[in-house]
Symmetry: C2
Subunit: 241 residues, 2 copies
């Protein structure tokens, strides 16, 4: 509140404190934060300043507020998490999402390749868990997923008994890793042998390849996911404003 160069507005400082506390698990998902009044008293700022910080948290989907009830850490429920980052939908339906089922998953533990280490910001040869599975849409196999995560963030993930349809709720509830941002790069490729085997697709069929890096609340790189989609009956939908 004194030196010029590193000046930060009060509400931004409050925001940072709250983000850190949530990241540290001070309040678990679905738990209520203290009320505006309580936070204001504790941090010695006005209620309006706390409110401005909380509004920013709402805008980033880190908390949800309910009039009369309180402010709650956002929860990655199954359906919620599923649709937050799942962009596939039926054509010409204004982005009406489609619900994918998940085929059986195959898990293995191994060392990261050079490109994986690069993309996940790991040391070369660090241990990772690779998960492979197919996703069915309307009962037909349509997408293959290869998921690579650092073992360090998810110890014993490869020995989990059953992997849920949406891994992100598992990441959050079991490992405390809260996925908040996903960056995706899309390109068109031709089906490979694995696509042909997993999805029963003829050679030469064009596929949409989606490479995702998922980041946790503190910006840590938590997951590399490569999806290959048969887009003959389904599209990847985006909306900008």
């Amino acid at each position: 509140m004194e030196s010029m160069p590193d000046f930060q507005p009060l509400y931004k400082q409050v925001y940072d404190v709250l983000v850190r506390r949530i990241a540290e698990g001070a309040w678990l998902p679905a738990e209520a934060l203290p009320s505006e009044q309580a936070l204001a008293a504790e941090l010695k700022v006005s209620q309006g300043t706390v409110r401005k910080a909380l509004d920013a948290l709402v805008a980033e989907n880190l908390v949800q507020r309910h009039q009369g009830k309180g402010t709650f850490v956002a929860e990655h429920t199954q359906e919620h998490a599923l649709f937050r980052f799942f962009r596939l939908s039926r054509p010409n339906t204004d982005g009406e999402r489609v619900t994918p089922e998940s085929g059986p998953a195959r898990c293995k533990r191994r060392a990261a390749t050079a490109t994986e280490a690069d993309k996940l910001h790991l040391k070369k040869g660090a241990s990772v868990v690779e998960i492979n599975r197919a996703r069915l849409i309307d009962g037909t196999p349509t997408v293959t997923e290869k998921i690579v995560v650092p073992l360090k963030l998810f110890p014993e993930l490869d020995h989990q008994t059953a992997l849920p349809n949406t891994l992100y709720s598992l990441y959050q509830s079991v490992y405390g890793v809260n996925i908040t941002v996903a960056k995706e790069e899309l390109r068109a490729v031709l089906s490979n042998k694995s696509d042909q085997k997993e999805l029963g697709i003829e050679p030469g069929t064009p596929m949409l390849r989606v490479e995702r890096i998922a980041l946790g609340i503190a910006g840590e790189r938590a997951e590399l996911r490569i999806s290959r989609c048969d887009t003959r009956n389904i599209v990847y939908a985006v909306e900008f404003s």
Copy 2:
């Protein structure tokens, strides 16, 4: 401020008034709006309420604010408009955008097809203008664009002397159509004869097909655009939060 069922917060009402005035051209792009104080006095609300409405306009990219100067209607400058909706970037660069040049455009006026009329919410057989062009990236043709717009919204567009690299600034400055939202559907397809001719691509090459509907400020459907991209050196980048 009296009946319950259709209650709208004051700041929302202020927001709606300002959106309507901007849409009507009360202040042209790059022009300054009245100051917070002036708006508050005119609309008989407090400055804080006006501020909350303006903050919402900023969040939707409809206005820009500059401390000490004022609040200005957002302008779709060439570069600005270019990067707002252009998602192509180099791989592994965290979405660092690539600057596309525009090849020569071919324009024609014709009747809308059934699917075009459907997607643009036009009557069957309404007049449209179709624009075809290729885009070069690093000097090599990489994307073809087919753009279809209602003639009614853009009279004489087909007789424009030179089409700019970014059509949206032309839409805004000449026709008063302010593109604020774009919905895109992506799929992987194989190159067709036109791709092969325009881009010099071999048959059987996978292409990323992007179908965009662009909406104006009032939600009117202003443009249908189909891009076909060679994604061997370039990717379509998206980030969610």
